[in-house]
């Protein structure tokens, strides 16, 4: 039952509450027991309560409170974006976003596709049942 994701300098976290909801940020310093200094290429460095952060598996190599340029370079080196988008958590979020943005017509087409797929699966199953 030991912890696997630690709050440390360089830990990438997902904001789960507030104005920056859904953003990936890097912990660049710890302020006190409850708060961290947090930074990201597209936002101003600011403090955040740990309760607003969900830690991810990704960690990058930086010193305490790096300059913005250094931070961006370190994020490129660790390839945070691709690691995130290929992780199952990141993929799940992309799917959720896509589903929420579906048009009424898109939902209709999705329904047709689901029915078609289920029909094909059932056919194959019936074939397998016959031979077994």
């Amino acid at each position: 039952m030991p912890f696997k994701r630690y709050v440390e300098i360089g830990r990438v976290a997902l904001v789960n509450y507030g104005k920056d909801y859904g953003k990936l940020v890097v912990i660049v310093d710890v302020i006190d027991q409850n708060r961290a200094l947090v930074d990201s290429p597209d936002m101003v460095r600011s403090q955040m309560n740990f309760k607003r952060l969900s830690l991810t598996d990704i960690k990058i190599e930086i010193n305490r409170v790096p300059k913005k340029k250094t931070l961006i370079m370190a994020m490129e080196k660790a390839d945070v974006k691709n690691k995130w988008e290929n992780s199952s958590w990141g993929r799940r979020l992309t799917v959720q976003k896509r589903r929420a943005a579906l048009n009424d017509f898109d939902r209709f087409k999705l329904m047709l596709a689901k029915i078609k797929k289920a029909g094909i699966v059932r056919q194959e199953l019936a074939k397998l049942k016959k031979t077994a």
Binding site: A101, N103, D104, F105, F108
Partner: protein, 232 residues
């Protein structure tokens, strides 16, 4: 008087609303009233009043009401034409929310002068004829259909109005029979209009896959669908 060529500028600019820059005596001089007086021999010129045409003697009216009744204030307000939602453009697929065709997905043609929306199924696809629908009872989806081949010029509110009934002669024997005959037979002309509008529409619908089936299906809320979170 001939109309002025340049707009009149006041000689006494306002310092604040109600207070002019120049006093009465200064204005007297600015306006040249002293010159007008001088020209007229020290007195301000007076013009004889225009002779009024002799008006006919008005007799008191023969009848007036016993009590004085208050007249209602005149109301000159004009109703503005209904504003069409930005999301509704010709060719938009709409979802009708109430009435006989609730849940039907339908193609929007144009807004009539009364503010109602002219809409068609097309009839062959989902049974909705050329019909008027109120904007408030409609959800506009973001799906658009190409409507350029359709001519909707001739349709207006009068086309959809109730036909004036011919006065029936009162006769007991005919009473019950005559009512049933020819009450709701759709005139052939309207059927032809429907076909004329629908033919080019159906052609442009066929170019998009699944669109015909989409328009033929009704919309309904399923489990887990939250209307305020749905993107239409």
């Amino acid at each position: 008087m001939a109309p002025r060529k340049t707009p009149h500028v006041t000689r006494n600019p306002d310092l604040i609303r109600g207070i002019g820059k120049y006093s009465r005596s200064v204005m007297y001089h600015k306006r040249g009233l002293w010159a007008i007086k001088a020209k007229n021999g020290g007195v301000f010129p007076k013009h004889a009043p225009k002779a009024k045409a002799a008006s006919p003697v008005e007799k008191p009216p023969k009848f007036y009401p016993a009590d004085d009744v208050k007249k209602p204030l005149p109301n000159k307000r004009k109703a503005k034409p209904t504003k069409l939602r930005d999301s509704i453009t010709p060719g938009t697929v709409l979802i009708i929310l109430a009435g006989r065709f609730k849940g039907k997905r339908v193609v929007f043609l144009k807004q009539l002068s009364s503010g109602l929306l002219l809409v068609t199924g097309p009839f062959k696809i989902n049974g909705v004829p050329l019909r008027r629908v109120n904007q408030s009872y409609v959800i506009a989806t973001s799906t658009k259909v190409d409507i350029s081949g359709v001519n909707v010029e001739k349709f207006d509110d009068k086309y959809f109005g109730k036909k004036a009934e011919k006065k029936k002669k009162k006769g007991e024997a005919n009473f019950f029979e005559a009512e049933k005959e020819g009450e709701n037979a759709l005139p052939q002309e309207k059927k032809d209009d429907q076909k004329l509008v629908d033919a080019p529409l159906i052609k442009s619908l066929e170019s998009v896959p699944d669109l015909k089936a989409y328009l033929g299906a009704r919309f309904s809320l399923k489990d887990g669908m939250k209307p305020h979170e749905l993107v239409f």
